[in-house]
Amino acid sequence: MANNKKTARRAQLEQAIVYPVDWIEERSGLIGGLRYFLFRKVPGDTNWFHTLGSATLTAFLVQLVTGVILAMYYKPDPDKAYESIRHITDDITLGWLVRGMHRWGASVFIILMFFHMARVFLFGAYKYPRELNWIIGVLLLALGMFEGFTGYLLPWDQTSYWATVVAVNINGSAPFLGPFIAQFLQGGAAINDETLSRFYAIHMLLLPGAIFALIGLHLYLVIRLGVTSPPWSKDAAGSGPRTPPTPPPARDGLVRPGPRGNGRVETESPTETTTSGDGRGH
């Protein structure tokens, strides 16, 4: 008797959890998409090196969260910036920790990007059909370094000020357009009272938005094209007859259930069944 009661309550509980999930799935297909993303097939011999991309993404997310919190206390004004950084570090509860995470996390982000890049290069994972994703990765690297450049000025101490002077003038000594690039970066002929807020806006609005969008594209291509095996893999490319990559049935489980299904059963009209062999129609 007690057992029955327990299972009944359990079923009720499960129902309470499943119902909102089902509700969302039925209206958006997002749960199916998430399942597809998390449980998609990858080669059997992937290894820890394949986690460097996710590690980089995690580092970026840490920068995002800590950066938003720091922005609540930071004041991008030449007269107040240094003092507000000192206030964050010395006075605000756990401010030293959040600032430290952002400061060191910046280096971690860049270093992980290089490790990830090295993995892709050494595994040959940049080759057809993944060239575009390599290009996007290079753009992400450049934007990440630009984040480092603009973020370095924000503490507004002697080191950051003169490091920025030098970096801007390195840009300025580029042929032909260099002087214009330097003047654009500074917002004038020299570092002035608008340069700091300019760097701040670029650092926390422009670049993160661009990086976010490119990461979305990067991940989309990873999911669409799949993960490469290591070069020593027995299934490595070239060992068998070459088959052009078939795009995965990305829409399975979103618009209508694919072979995997989502626990939903739908009846399809006969004509549809015949045309949905690859899950995408024609």
Binding site: P78, D79, W162, V165, V166, V168, N169, I170, G172, S173, P175, F176, G178, P179, F180, A182, Q183, F184, Q186, G187, G188, A189, A190, I191, N192, D193, T195, L196
Partner: protein, 300 residues
């Protein structure tokens, strides 16, 4: 392509001159028109399909009223397909969307880019009476380029009074901005900080004068660029001599007028020959073969 050139020309013109804006606007209009004509050509040529045969058709004999086609012929199918409403709406949506996009984007991008390139001018800086500068003595002069912007515009000039030449007071005024990458060069001499003099010259301007004894060189702390006491490069990575200021004497006061760049200096003091150029950024060559890499300077 030409359209883009026109837009660029407008933006550049905003910086440089109004005639350039006019040229840019004309280019934009012309190429915009050509572009639209190009895009819509598909629609325009569609109805001209198959001109009938080759031989001119002989005029048909008059048709009795009760026979033949109706007087108001129905629109032939080709005519109907000429410009369907869906095509028109599609074109209108794209065109209006593009127009709105341009109207929103151009001012926003202009606002982000153009202010940095507007000629910001240089206010004259009154450094106080020339008696503060003893003959032959280097003086470290701190001032603010724009007092209203505060300490971020604090600058340093190294000033030496050379005595009179042709009955005019002569000064050597060097900028402390290193010609390598812009770090502040330091004086190689005995800095007499205890003899620093505050000079309230004009307005909010805070000027301090610190004498230096036995100055023989300037050295940059960043990458070791070295200069002699005329600002000529003697060692290290700088590509030219230290920048200088033109000056004037007003009511017995020394006034900084304009910052300019120098490739090198021959001779010393009042009799020196200064090879003078428009102000260039650090690391940019003024003479020698490398100067071809820096043909243009944005307005300062």
């Amino acid at each position: 392509m030409g359209f883009a050139v026109g837009i660029v020309c407008i933006l550049v013109g905003l910086v440089v001159s109004w005639p350039a804006v006019a040229v840019g606007a004309a280019l934009t209009l012309v190429f915009g028109f050509l572009w639209i004509r190009d895009v819509t050509r598909g629609y325009a040529t569609l109805p001209q399909a198959e001109p009938d045969g080759d031989a001119p058709v002989e005029p048909a004999p008059p048709i009795p009223a009760h026979k033949g086609p109706p007087a108001m012929p129905e629109t032939p199918p080709a005519e109907a397909a000429r410009y369907p409403r869906s095509k028109f709406l599609e074109g209108a949506t794209l065109g209006l969307g593009a127009a709105i996009g341009v109207v929103v984007t151009v001012p926003a991008v202009g606002f982000a880019v153009v202010p940095a390139f507007v000629d910001q001018g240089e206010p004259d800086i009154d450094l106080g009476p020339i008696e503060n500068f003893p003959q032959g003595q280097w003086v470290i002069t701190h001032y603010q380029l724009r007092p209203e912007q505060g300490d971020v515009t604090r600058r340093v000039a190294y000033i030496r009074y050379n005595g009179t030449a042709d009955n005019e007071p002569s000064f050597t005024i060097l900028s402390n901005r290193c010609a390598h990458l812009g770090c502040p060069v330091q004086p190689g001499g005995l800095v007499q900080s205890d003899k620093t003099k505050d000079q309230k010259a004009s307005g909010d301007q805070d000027i301090t004068l610190t004498p230096v004894l036995g100055l023989s060189s300037f050295t940059c702390p960043c990458h070791g660029g070295s200069y002699d006491s005329e600002g000529n490069r003697t060692a290290g990575p700088p590509v030219r001599a230290l920048d200088r200021w033109t000056y004037s004497i007003k009511n017995g006061h020394l006034v900084l007028v304009e910052n300019y760049s120098v490739s090198h200096v021959e001779g010393t003091g009042a009799t020196a020959t200064i090879h003078k150029y428009d102000l260039a950024g650090p690391g940019q060559h003024l003479d020698g073969p490398e100067q071809i890499f820096y043909p243009w300077q944005p307005p300062h």
